[in-house]
């Protein structure tokens, strides 16, 4: 999870990722940040997020992003 926080912090520094639950809905993560985020997650956790999983609900909080990584087998 710490690795994910580091990635998020690198892409948009200064956000409260531990408590934010509307990263997409509040426009904190826009298309540009999402592209970078997905690329970074894919390479860091050695997974490939299918586009069908790139939906707002999966990216609204660090927790939901982490759950997605776990589901795709990248957290262990």
């Amino acid at each position: 999870m710490e690795e994910l926080y580091e990635i998020l912090e690198d892409i948009i520094p200064g956000e409260d990722y531990k408590n934010s639950t509307a990263l997409v809905d509040d426009d904190i993560l826009t298309s540009f940040e999402l592209v970078r985020l997905v690329t970074e997650i894919d390479s860091t956790f050695d997974i490939s997020i299918p586009s069908s999983e790139i939906v707002p609900d999966n990216f609204n909080s660090a927790e939901t992003i982490w759950a997605l990584i776990e589901r795709l087998g990248g957290a262990g």
């Binding site: 298309s31 540009f32 999402l34 592209v35 299918p50 586009s51 069908s52 790139i54 939906v55 707002p56």
Partner: protein
């Protein structure tokens, strides 16, 4: 909305605009992107005025600067935006589009206005980033748009069965295609909600649901779909024309699209607000990822000149790089109420000093490839294309002048990571202090990604900040705050 309804509403709105009795004056259109906004732009034109679509998301300070230059005859807005529009525009009359649309049209009045309009009259004023900190109003004429439509008609078989999937905001010149192609070709435009562009798994089904055949998109929008490999799972079934415009299209992403949707035509459009679309290249072969995709040759009604530093012409076959200059119908009249900038960029053709002919100096550096097609090589100044937006780095630097801790600053662009880097000296301060000040003056897409304190900033022999050195230092992983 059917054409008959568009016509009826635009005529009613036009009648209300004509009542201002300010023919030729600009009217600011302050609305969320919607079909009603598109109809409002047409309505302003029907009423004999030029329209200026204003980005409702821009910070108040920037809007104030734009309205102070524009001095509109009125602000046209819709119910939900009325209060903000009144606050922003001071003494200027505020018209509610719902009120105008409900009134009957005066067809005789509109016909008389139409008869008076010349093709060289302003159709719109679009504001773009300005290097001095003041956004520039670029005037587009009826002729510019008509010429482009004629060229599209001569080259592509758009027709009533086509559906355009609009991506660009209506204050961008690219959106003119989505506004005016329906009037020329009888096709329809579907305005795609902006949120869909982040999530291709939702976007592609939406394109299919609306049977979208044609897109005029910035490469970033196409690139997001390629980056997420969304076409591996679902294809845009009806797509046949993919026009990309506004920045350089990465070949890797283009190849992904061509591999998955091989039946579509891919057209690299080159243009800017000042000259609309003036060059194009229809991709007709494979390109390697290291290749440069050409911008091709001129669209109809447009001429090009490539000039070296001494204003000598560079011709195909010469391996030199020069500045691309545009001539012909694509060249607009210049910047609104800015004779100084206009005189700098819109100049007499130096190759034809005896015959009056204005050309537009694009600031884009190009060269002819061995195939005779033009290739884009970069900028002669500090203008960048970032996420499809055109940005003068000088405007960001000027906005930073309001942060008391900063003595001097410079922005450079990290093309590889697509980041705006902000270097400053003075008193070291935290990122939030700078970014919150900038965000009060600049749209979000202009905010830097990295803030780096470096005191004093390096300067070259002439005393100017050494941007090249800053770029190199950044690449060596300088510590950022």
């Amino acid at each position: 909305m059917k054409f008959s309804e568009v016509r009826r509403l635009a005529a009613s709105i036009g009648t209300g605009i004509a009542a201002l009795q300010s023919p030729g004056s600009p009217v600011a259109v302050f609305m969320e992107k919607s079909v009603l906004m598109a109809v409002s732009l047409l309505g302003v034109s029907y009423g004999g005025c030029s329209y200026c679509p204003v980005d409702v998301a821009m910070p108040e300070a920037r809007m104030d600067r734009i309205l102070s230059v524009l001095e509109p005859a009125a602000v046209l807005t819709s119910g939900s935006m009325g209060a903000r529009a009144r606050e922003a525009c001071g003494d200027c009359p505020v018209l509610l589009v719902e009120d105008l649309a409900a009134r009957p049209a005066d067809e005789a009045l509109l016909a008389s206005l139409r008869a008076r309009i010349k093709s060289s009259d302003p159709l719109y004023i679009l504001f773009t980033s300005g290097s001095t900190g003041m956004p520039k109003g670029v005037v587009g004429t009826h002729q510019t748009v008509l010429n482009n439509l004629e060229w599209l008609a001569s080259r592509f078989d758009l027709g009533p069965d086509d559906v355009l999937g609009n991506q660009a905001p209506l204050h961008f010149v690219v959106a003119d295609h989505d506004l005016y192609c329906p009037l020329k070709f009888g096709c329809s435009s579907f305005f795609i909600p902006a949120g869909y562009f982040s999530f291709p798994a939702k976007l592609i089904p939406l394109l299919n649901q609306h049977r979208v055949t044609t897109v005029f998109w910035v490469p970033f929008a196409l690139g997001t779909i390629a980056s997420f490999r969304a076409l591996d799972e679902i294809l845009p079934e009806f797509l046949r024309y993919v026009f990309f415009v506004g920045e350089v299209m990465p070949v890797r992403q283009l190849n992904y699209w061509r591999e998955h949707v091989p039946s579509a035509h891919y057209i690299n459009l080159y243009g800017s607000t000042e000259m609309y679309m003036c060059c194009y290249y229809e991709v007709d072969r494979e390109y390697a990822e290291t290749d440069t995709l050409p911008i091709g040759g001129p669209c109809g009604g447009t001429g090009i000149l490539v000039l070296d530093e001494m204003d000598r012409e560079i011709l195909p076959g010469m391996a030199e790089t020069g500045e691309l200059c545009i001539r012909g119908f694509a060249v607009g009249p210049g910047y609104y109420r800015d004779p100084e900038q206009t005189a700098r960029k819109f100049i007499q053709n130096p190759l034809e000093p005896a015959a009056r002919e204005m050309i537009y100096r694009t600031g884009d550096l190009v060269r002819y490839g061995t195939d005779g097609l033009l290739e884009f090589c970069g900028r002669a100044d500090y203008q960048i294309k970032h996420l499809g937006y055109r940005i003068e780095l000088g405007e960001i630097e000027a906005a930073a002048g309001k942060v008391p801790e900063i003595s001097s600053c410079a922005c450079v662009y990290d093309q590889k990571k697509q980041r705006i880097l902000f270097f400053y000296d003075g008193t070291e301060t935290d990122r939030k202090t700078i970014s919150s000040s900038l965000s009060q003056q600049l749209p979000r897409y202009m905010l830097p990604s990295r803030y780096v304190y470096l005191d004093p900033l390096p300067r070259n022999a002439s005393g100017k900040i050494d941007r090249k050195f800053l770029q190199e230092q950044y690449e060596k992983n300088i510590k950022s705050c």
